[in-house]
C-alpha cells in the first residue's frame, strides 16, 4: 500500500452543497493504496492545513490527494504546506471538484459520482508520483548585450549603472548603430549625433562596460544564468591598445571605397573609422580592399604609423566567456527597394535615394556638410518628392508590416527641405499618416503649414523626362492621376530585421517570427522576454520602432536583466524531462520537437555487448532550457524521455482509474 491520504474539502458550502463530500471520502477509503481519508470545511485554511499535517504524522502518510478547488488555485499553497511535513511536496495531486464539479453540475448524485472518479484518478496518479527536488543554479553576474546601436547602448548603460558588469558586442568597427547616421530626430529636431555620441563616450568610459567591436557571436552553450558564448573577434589589423587614432594612416591610404556609412555618397580609405566620432576612435583595416592584404602591395599605413600599430598578420580569434543574461539589440536594416520596385528605376536613377541616404545628405557632418544636393550633379533640388510606405504595408511586393517611424521622419525630411532650400517644393505621397506619439501630430501639422503638399496615393512609376524625375501616381482623394516633375526623390523605405538576427537569436535559443523579427515571449505581457530564459529583446530587433520606444524597451530589457543578475542563484522547476540513456536510441525525434533547444544529441561511448568502446548517440537534456511542456515525450517511441510529474505511467494510471 502506498499510504495515501485523501483530504476532501467542503470549501464552505461551495463544494458541500452539491457534492456529498462524506461519500467521496468514504469511497476514497476503499481505493487501493489509500490508508486515510477525511473531509473538512476549508482545507486551505490554517486549521485545515494543520489537520493534514497531523494526519500525515499520525498515519504515516506518504502521498497526499486533496479534493478541492482547481490546482491552479491552491497547488502552490499545499506544496508549501508539505514542505513542513516529511512528505515531498511533489507527492501531491489535487482533484478539482469545485470548478469542474460543484460549480458546473447541479445534480448531487451525478456530481458526487464524478467527484469520486476525479479522486480515483488523482489517487492512481499520486501512487506513481516521484519525489522531486527543485534545484538551483548559480548565476554568472555579467550581461552580454548584442548590438551597439542606441538600444544596446541604453541597455548596457542601465545594467552597468545598476552595478553589473556588461559586455557589449558590436559587429561593426564602431558602436552607434543607425541613430548616429541620422541628422535630427523628430519631433524635437535635436541633433541626433549630439544626443547619442555622449552616450557612446559614457559607454567607453564606464568602468562596468567592456566594449567589443568587430565581433560576432560564434556559438552559445548553456542557458539562463550561465551562457557560455564563443565570441569571434574579427581581425582589425591595427593594434588597438597602442593606436591613438591620430589619423595619419587614413590620410595616406591610397584606396578609395564607397562609404557604407554615408550610403555610398562619399568614399573612405581601406584603413578607416566608420565615422569621425566613432567609438572606439581608432581605425581598422578593411581586409577586402586593403592592397597589402589583398595583393601584398602598398604598406603605406605601416610606414606612416608613428607607433607601429599596423599588424597585417592579425587574425580572427575566438574565445569563450560566460554571461548570466543576454540582451539582443540587433537592430534593423532598410529593405532593398531596388530589388522590389522596378517601376522606381530599381536603382538606375542616382537621384532616387532612400531615407537614410537623405539623412547623410542633410547631416552637417555628412558628405555634403549638410547641403541638400542631387547626388547626380550636386545641384540643389527645387522640387523634392517623398514617397512613403516603400516596401512597408505592401504584402505583394514588399513587407506586410508598417515600419512605424516613416510617417514622422518623412515629415521631418519635408521640414528640413523647406527650411534649408528657400522656395523648395515638397510633395509627400502617402497611404495614411500615422502619428501616435507625444507631439507627433503637432509636428506633422506644422510641416503641412510650412508648405509640404501631402498627396494621398502610391507612386506607381518614376521615370526620367528631360533631366527630371517624373513621379506618377493616383491622388486617391481627387480620384485622378497626378504627375510631379522632381529633382530629387526620397523613398521612405521599410525597416527589416538586421541581416543575421534570426541566426544569432537562434544561437541563444530565441526564435524569430515568420517575418524575421525576434519573437517576444508574449506579445502583451512579456514583450521584452523571449522563450529562452535569460534572453531579452531591446529595440527594433523585435519589430519596427522609433527612438523613444527603442530606448524605453531597452531600459525594460535592462530591468529584466538586472532583476536576474541581482539573484545569486535561481530555482528551476523539477518538472522537466529526463532521458533514460540506457533506453535512448539517439534517433533525435525529440530534438526536432523542442521549442527551447533544450535537447541535443551527443555521442556516448561505453562498453556494450561485445564492443568495448561502442559509440552511439543519446539525447541530453539541458535542464536550464527545458520548460517542461513534454511535447518531446510523444516523439519518443521508447519512452526514454519522460516528463517528471507527468510521466507516461502517471497519465496512463489516471486513464485506467476511470474504467475498472
Amino acid at each position: 500500500m502506498s499510504r495515501i491520504g485523501v483530504f476532501v474539502c467542503h470549501c464552505g458550502t461551495n463544494l458541500a452543497s452539491v457534492v456529498d463530500v462524506e461519500k467521496v471520502a468514504a469511497a476514497a477509503r476503499e481505493l487501493p493504496g489509500v490508508s486515510y481519508a477525511a473531509e473538512y470545511k476549508y482545507m486551505c485554511s490554517e486549521p485545515g492545513q494543520q489537520m493534514i499535517l497531523d494526519a500525515i504524522a499520525e498515519h504515516g502518510l506518504k502521498r497526499i490527494v486533496i479534493a478541492s478547488c482547481s490546482p491552479r488555485m491552491h497547488e502552490t499553497t499545499f506544496r508549501k504546506m508539505l514542505k513542513k511535513s516529511g512528505v515531498n511536496e511533489y507527492l501531491l495531486e489535487i482533484a478539482n471538484i469545485r470548478e469542474q464539479v460543484s460549480w458546473v453540475h447541479t445534480d448531487s448524485g451525478v456530481a458526487t459520482e464524478k467527484a469520486v472518479d476525479l479522486v480515483r484518478m488523482a489517487v492512481a496518479k499520486v501512487a506513481k508520483d516521484e519525489p522531486l527536488k527543485a534545484s538551483s543554479i548559480p548565476i554568472t553576474k555579467r550581461a552580454l548585450v548584442v548590438g551597439g546601436g542606441i538600444a544596446g547602448i541604453q541597455a548596457a548603460l542601465d545594467i552597468a549603472d545598476a552595478g553589473h558588469e556588461v559586455w557589449l558586442l558590436e559587429r561593426e568597427p564602431s558602436i552607434g548603430g543607425r541613430m548616429v547616421m541620422l541628422d535630427k530626430t523628430f519631433p524635437t529636431l535635436d541633433c541626433s549625433a549630439c544626443i547619442s555620441t555622449p552616450k557612446m563616450v559614457d559607454m567607453s568610459a564606464h568602468p562596468n562596460i567592456k566594449l567589443l567591436t568587430s565581433c560576432e557571436v560564434a556559438a552559445v552553450r548553456g542557458y539562463i544564468g550561465n551562457f557560455t558564448v564563443t565570441i569571434r573577434q574579427k581581425a582589425k589589423y591595427v593594434n588597438q591598445d597602442i593606436c591613438t587614432g591620430c589619423g595619419n594612416c587614413e590620410e595616406k591610404c591610397p584606396v578609395k571605397v564607397k562609404s557604407d556609412f554615408n550610403k555610398g555618397l562619399s568614399d573612405r580609405p581601406a584603413i578607416y573609422r566608420l565615422f569621425p566620432q566613432a567609438v572606439p576612435a581608432k581605425p581598422v583595416i578593411d581586409r577586402a580592399h586593403c592592397l597589402k592584404l589583398t595583393k601584398d602591395r602598398c604598406g603605406l599605413c605601416e610606414k606612416v604609423c608613428p607607433l607601429g600599430c599596423i599588424d597585417y598578420a592579425d587574425e580572427d580569434r575566438e574565445y569563450d566567456e560566460t554571461f548570466g543574461a543576454v540582451v539582443l539589440a540587433t537592430g534593423y536594416g532598410l529593405c532593398d527597394w531596388t530589388a522590389m520596385y522596378d517601376e522606381y528605376g530599381a536603382g538606375r536613377f542616382a537621384d532616387v535615394i532612400d531615407g537614410l541616404a537623405f539623412e547623410r545628405l542633410v547631416n552637417a557632418s555628412g558628405p555634403t556638410e549638410g547641403h541638400i544636393v542631387r547626388p547626380s550633379d550636386g545641384a540643389e533640388p527645387k522640387t523634392v518628392v517623398l514617397v512613403k510606405c516603400v516596401g512597408s504595408r505592401d504584402p505583394k511586393k514588399g513587407k506586410p508590416w508598417c515600419s512605424r517611424a516613416c510617417c514622422m521622419y518623412a515629415a521631418k525630411h519635408a521640414h528640413q527641405i523647406l527650411e534649408k532650400i528657400p522656395g523648395a517644393r515638397v510633395f509627400v505621397f502617402y497611404i495614411d499618416v500615422r502619428t501616435p506619439g507625444k507631439n507627433y501630430e503637432e509636428f506633422y501639422d506644422q510641416t503641412r503649414k510650412d508648405g509640404a503638399v501631402y498627396v494621398r496615393g502610391r507612386v506607381s512609376r518614376i521615370y526620367k523626362e528631360g533631366g527630371r524625375l517624373i513621379c506618377q501616381g493616383e491622388d486617391s482623394l481627387l480620384g485622378k492621376q497626378v504627375r510631379v516633375a522632381a529633382d530629387l526623390v526620397v523613398l521612405e523605405t521599410a525597416m527589416e530585421p538586421a541581416a543575421g538576427a534570426r541566426e544569432t537569436a537562434a544561437l541563444f535559443g530565441a526564435s524569430a517570427d515568420a517575418n524575421g523579427w525576434l519573437q517576444e515571449a508574449h506579445p502583451k505581457l512579456r514583450p521584452v522576454e523571449t522563450q529562452a530564459g535569460g534572453v531579452f529583446l531591446a529595440g527594433t530587433c523585435q519589430g519596427p520602432k522609433d527612438i523613444p520606444d527603442t530606448v524605453a524597451q531597452a531600459s525594460g530589457a535592462a530591468a529584466k536583466a538586472i532583476g536576474l543578475l541581482n539573484k545569486d542563484e535561481m530555482e528551476t522547476s523539477p518538472m522537466i524531462v529526463a532521458v533514460d540513456e540506457a533506453k535512448c536510441s539517439g534517433c533525435g525525434a525529440c530534438v526536432d520537437i523542442c521549442p527551447f533547444g533544450a535537447l541535443s544529441l551527443e555521442i556516448l561511448t561505453a562498453r556494450e555487448g561485445r564492443w568495448e568502446r561502442a559509440e552511439r548517440f543519446v539525447c541530453k537534456v539541458n535542464a536550464g532550457l527545458c520548460q517542461g511542456c513534454g511535447a518531446c515525450t510523444v516523439a519518443c517511441r521508447t519512452g526514454a524521455i519522460d516528463l517528471r510529474g507527468f510521466r507516461n505511467v502517471q497519465i496512463l494510471e489516471e486513464i485506467d482509474a476511470l474504467w475498472t
Partner: protein, 272 residues
C-alpha cells in the same frame, strides 16, 4: 506452498521493516493469520509480490518462529514498490524455492563466509543456521566488504551479534572519517587474512567483479572448487522450473539452484 497451485501466493503482511542502507531494506513477513509462511532451508528463495505491482524472487535471509525475512535492494519498479510499503501492509509470498546450502555436507568443516554489498543477504541465512547448530561446524569466519560504511548491511549482526560468536572481518573500499576498521577490497583482504583451505569451505556471494577476483584469490590460496559455494541470481518468473528463463544449460536456477559449488558451475555453460 500452495499444494494445489504452486503459483498462487499466500496473503501475508509486513510485520517489521529495517532500513539497512539507503537502498536496502529488510522486510519481516508473516501470513495474515499470524503464522510463518513456510520453513525455508538456508539459501532458499521466496517469491514476494506487492498487490497491484507484481512479484519477484528474493533470497530469504532469516527466519524466526512465526516469520521469515528478506533483505531487498531497490533496483527496479517492483523493488521500488516494496520499499514504499509500511508495517502492516499486505504482500503475497510463495515458496520456498530452489535448493539450499549443503548444510549436511558442510558439517564438521570450518566455514568462511565471504560477502560483498547486498551479497551478504543469502549468506546470512546460512550464518544464522550455523550459529544455531554451532556444534556441527568448525571455526566460523565472515569476511564482508562494501563500498562505504553506509552500504554495510546487517549492522546489528556485523557489530553486535556476530563478533562475539565468530570471526568477523569487515572492510570498506575507501577510507572514511570515523572508520578505524580495515580498508581495501574483499579479495585482497581474503589473502591478507590467509585462511587455510584445509578442512574449510568458503561461501561466496557478491557483485560479479568481486566474485571473479575473490575466486582468483581463493584458488591461489589452495581452495578446491568443491569447497567454494556461491548462489546465483537470474531473472525468474515462475519459480517452479517451468517458465524457462532461469536456465543454465539444462539446470534451472529456481529448482537446481540458486546454490552451486564452483565445481558444479564448471559443468554448466558459462551463461549466468
Amino acid at each position: 506452498m500452495n499444494a494445489a497451485n504452486p503459483l498462487l501466493p499466500a496473503a501475508c503482511r509486513i510485520i517489521g521493516i529495517t532500513d539497512e542502507t539507503p537502498d536496502v531494506k529488510t522486510f519481516r513477513l508473516q501470513t495474515q493469520g499470524g503464522a510463518k509462511p513456510f520453513a525455508p532451508m538456508p539459501g532458499q528463495l521466496a517469491m514476494i509480490s506487492v498487490p497491484g505491482a507484481g512479484e519477484a524472487m528474493f533470497s530469504i535471509t532469516a527466519q524466526g518462529e512465526d516469520w521469515i525475512e528478506s533483505s531487498i535492494k531497490r533496483v527496479g519498479a517492483l523493488t521500488e514498490a516494496l520499499h514504499e510499503l509500511s508495517e502492516g501492509d499486505a504482500v503475497g509470498v510463495r515458496g520456498p524455492y530452489g535448493n539450499h546450502f549443503p548444510v549436511d555436507a558442510l558439517k564438521g568443516k570450518d566455514l568462511l563466509f565471504v560477502g560483498g554489498g547486498i551479497g551478504l543477504a543469502p549468506i546470512r541465512s546460512l550464518i544464522r543456521y550455523a550459529l544455531e547448530h554451532r556444534e556441527d561446524y568448525g571455526k566460523l569466519d565472515v569476511l564482508y566488504g562494501s563500498r562505504t560504511t553506509a552500504d554495510l548491511v546487517f549492522k546489528e549482526d556485523l557489530f553486535g551479534n556476530w563478533p562475539q560468536r565468530m570471526g568477523t572481518h569487515i572492510t570498506i573500499d575507501v577510507p572514511e572519517d570515523g572508520w578505524d576498521g580495515h580498508v581495501g577490497f574483499v579479495p585482497a583482504y581474503i589473502e591478507e587474512k590467509g585462511f587455510s583451505p584445509k578442512g574449510r569451505a568458503c561461501i561466496l556471494c557478491g557483485p560479479p567483479i568481486m566474485i571473479r577476483l575473490s575466486l582468483a584469490s581463493l584458488y591461489k590460496m589452495g581452495f578446491e572448487k568443491e569447497n567454494i559455494i556461491t548462489t546465483l541470481e537470474m531473472r525468474m518468473k515462475c519459480g517452479i522450473g517451468k517458465c524457462g528463463r532461469c536456465n543454465i544449460g539444462s539446470k534451472y536456477v529456481c529448482l537446481d539452484g540458486p546454490v552451486f559449488s564452483m565445481a558444479e558451475l564448471d559443468e554448466l555453460p558459462p551463461e549466468h
